[in-house]
């Protein structure tokens, strides 16, 4: 086992050498660490919702000369690592960024489990962690534990509740009946949403006429839709994931599923959904949504121009808004003093792409959680503490 120690020392020497430790100078760029899955199960989602935002932001900041600090402007250099969708790797990558690369700032990783796995490290080294891609019902406990951790997504319950509220409103207005068919993918978020949804449907006065889960990766969704159709529902709700969200809509179109309201969860807000489902996507409800403004239109265009990615109508604008908060806080503090930056984030309000944000309670106070495809745009129709959503339209055929 001495060999082990020798190897470690050798590795340390090699790593230190390859990074040129101790050569930092005032004119050096600000080093920003980015960790996320470039390979493994979550790589597909991260390629749209995670990585491109940082790329666009760094491009824009550098194009205007860098971040304005007290000792002059400094450009941004992104250091990007692949965590291969394994928390052990995320931990190592963040450790490497914090102690070997000596990153000035580290962006939160992608996925709930991955954010929680590195929260102790962010905490230990005093990096603020703005977790854009973490959904949990344990926010209270977690923000108390980690004073630099901010949650910038809703809770699971809020996604289920606001979606069901939309249906309840339609029912109360007499636009749809009280029979709902519910399906869910038997994995992570799908399970949580389904479990949160069941009592809420009952409370809202709905009768669940069909309730079934299907395994992640199910290729043939025809039986799911056929059985749901046979139950003759007024509304259809799928707590679904990317591949099946699209598959279900395509199958519903083929079967001519006759419902007045159709909701599917994750990935309904993605441009690829609209491409795959075509005009039949009109009036489909889903998780996410945006308040469509000229600034947002400009953001999508720039994202496409710089990174080649069509942004989604859910995570991308929120992610980018977080980057604006980080940028504004760094410039206000005027240095890379992480403690002061965290404090600034907690004590100020920020004007961002999606609107005014206040993170004083270490979590986002408002958020679009339900959207609807209307005339080719996924508009927000309901959410947490939002009131100016677009009126919900009924699904009228495929």
């Amino acid at each position: 086992m001495q060999r082990r120690t020798i190897f470690k020392l050798a590795a340390a020497a090699v790593l230190a050498g390859s990074f040129g430790l101790g050569s930092a100078q005032a004119a050096d760029p600000i080093k920003i660490g980015v960790v996320g899955p470039k390979t493994g199960p979550l790589a597909g989602g991260a390629a749209v919702t995670h990585f491109p935002n940082f790329e666009l932001w760094a491009h824009q900041v550098n194009a205007r000369g860098g971040l304005k600090l007290k000792d002059g402007q400094r450009k941004i250099e992104l250091i990007v690592y692949d965590d291969r969708t394994q928390p052990g790797e995320t931990i190592k990558a963040v450790q490497r960024l914090a102690t070997v690369d000596k990153a000035d700032f580290i962006m939160a990783p992608y996925g709930t489990g991955f954010n929680l796995a590195v929260a102790p490290i962010f905490d230990k080294y005093g990096y603020p962690q703005l977790a854009q891609a973490a959904v949990t019902d344990k926010m209270d406990e977690l923000v108390k534990r980690y004073p630099g951790l901010f949650f910038v997504q809703g809770s699971t319950t809020s996604y289920a509740k606001t979606a069901i509220d939309v249906l309840k409103k339609l029912k109360d207005e007499g636009k749809i009946g009280n029979k709902v068919a519910v399906v869910n993918v038997a994995d992570a978020f799908g399970i949580e949403l389904a479990n949160a949804g069941r009592p809420l449907f009952k409370e809202a006065g709905f009768e669940i006429v069909y309730d079934k889960s299907y395994p992640l990766g199910t290729q043939d969704l025809a039986p799911v839709i056929k059985a749901a159709k046979a139950a003759n529902p007024d509304a259809f709700v799928a707590w679904s994931y990317p591949p099946d969200t699209i598959g279900l809509a395509q199958q519903a179109k083929i079967e001519g599923l006759d419902v007045k309201a159709y909701y599917s969860a994750v990935a309904t807000a993605f441009p690829v959904f609209k491409k795959a489902v075509g005009d039949a996507s009109e009036n489909i409800l889903g998780a996410g949504g945006v308040k469509y403004t000229p600034e947002l239109e400009k953001f999508y265009k720039e994202l496409k121009d710089v990174t080649g990615v069509d942004g989604d109508y859910w995570g991308n604008p929120v992610y980018y808004s977080m980057l604006q908060i980080i940028e504004q806080s760094i410039e206000a503090v005027g240095s890379m003093d992480r403690k002061a930056i965290t404090e600034h984030i907690k004590t100020h309000k920020f004007n961002t792409l999606i609107g005014e944000i206040d993170l004083s309670s270490q979590r986002l106070q408002w958020l679009w959680t339900v959207g609807q495809w209307q005339d080719g745009i996924f508009h927000g129709v309901n959410g947490v503490n939002v009131s100016d959503g677009k009126p919900v339209r009924l699904k009228t055929g495929w």
């Binding site: 060999r3 590795a11 199960p41 990007v80 969708t85 928390p87 990558a93 070997v100 994995d187 992570a188």
Partner: protein, 309 residues
């Protein structure tokens, strides 16, 4: 006898040297150290069974995940050491059942079965969470630090080596080597092959479960996809084969260079990790087919030959 005492002494010194790592570094080096410790236990215990018998098991992730889930499920109810113990017992019982049912099949059938096992358990756990109405992941919020987890893993590694050393010189180890060479001969020599295989399989899998249990607090949040990641199984097999499976210390010589190589690749070429790793594999298989142990031993032999010649 003298040489054995000397080997043991060296091992103790090396162990103590490895134990000082958290005092040198609490950050990046330690996190690599934890990785190496995790895979040392997994690969060495994997080799205890698969080395002599030539049964390639891809079930490491299944038992690793079981240990992890025992801790995640009970962390609010029971003290951590008790949970680690329960994780070990559950892993042992489960591997005994699996062993009894599957160790009659051999060759590629056994490989496929063990690969499917991790997936099966992952699906059962997902289904359980879907029907019992908990969230998709379980939280393991503790105050354990990386040094503590590292030391625990190091002690576990020492236990694996001691048990491996004991097996190697016991009748059981002898029986397994005969099974690996020719199972028919083993049966005809009066060896209870099924019993020997199951005992070793249980020992091997129990260590995987304990490792999962010890690592759970480090992840804070345990999901089926994280706990039963099939990649863990593949990585263990690759590391063990790289080191060499016919010596107790062989896997260690695979784990350390592999971890460091991968670390260097992902630090310097973060977007081409998989590509470069694949190329590294090809080179390893082509140039060191018998593992690093084979390389060292043939080197020694050659050196001795030169001396005599």
């Amino acid at each position: 006898m003298n040489s054995e005492v000397r080997t043991f002494g060296i091992a103790v010194i090396l162990f103590l040297a490895a134990a000082t790592l958290p005092l040198i570094s609490s950050g990046y080096l330690l996190s690599i150290g934890v990785s190496i410790a995790v895979y040392t236990v997994l690969a060495t215990s994997w080799t205890l069974f698969s080395g002599p018998t030539n049964y390639i098991s891809l079930a490491v992730a299944a038992f690793f995940g079981i240990g992890m889930y025992v801790v995640a499920g009970g962390i609010d109810l029971l003290p951590f050491p008790v949970l680690v113990l329960i994780g070990a017992v559950v892993g042992a019982l489960f591997s005994a059942i699996v062993g009894l049912a599957t160790l009659r099949i051999s060759g590629v059938y056994f490989v496929i079965f063990t690969l499917g096992l991790a997936e099966l358990i992952r699906q059962v756990v997902s289904w359980g969470q879907a029907t019992m109405g908990t969230s998709s992941g379980l939280y393991v919020l503790t105050d354990f630090t990386d040094p503590q987890i590292y030391w625990a893993l190091l002690v576990l590694a020492a236990v694996v080596f001691l048990i491996g050393w004991w097996i190697g010189r016991s009748r059981l180890g002898f029986a397994l080597r005969i099974i690996g060479n020719d199972e028919v001969v083993a049966v005809h020599s009066g060896i209870n092959t099924a019993r020997a295989k199951v005992i070793l399989f249980v020992i091997s899998c129990t260590f995987a479960s304990i490792t999962g249990a010890l690592v759970a607090p480090r992840y804070s949040y345990v999901e089926p996809t994280i706990a039963f990641n099939p990649f863990i199984s593949f990585q263990v097999v690759i590391m063990a084969l790289l080191g060499g499976v016919h010596r107790l210390w062989g896997p260690l010589l695979g784990v350390i260079p592999f971890t460091i190589l991968w670390e260097l690749i992902s630090a310097n070429f973060p977007t081409q990790t998989t590509l470069l790793l694949g190329a590294a594999f090809l080179l390893i298989v082509y140039f060191i087919p018998h593992g690093i142990v084979g390389l060292i031993e043939s080197g020694i032999q050659k050196w001795k030959g030169d001396q005599h010649g």
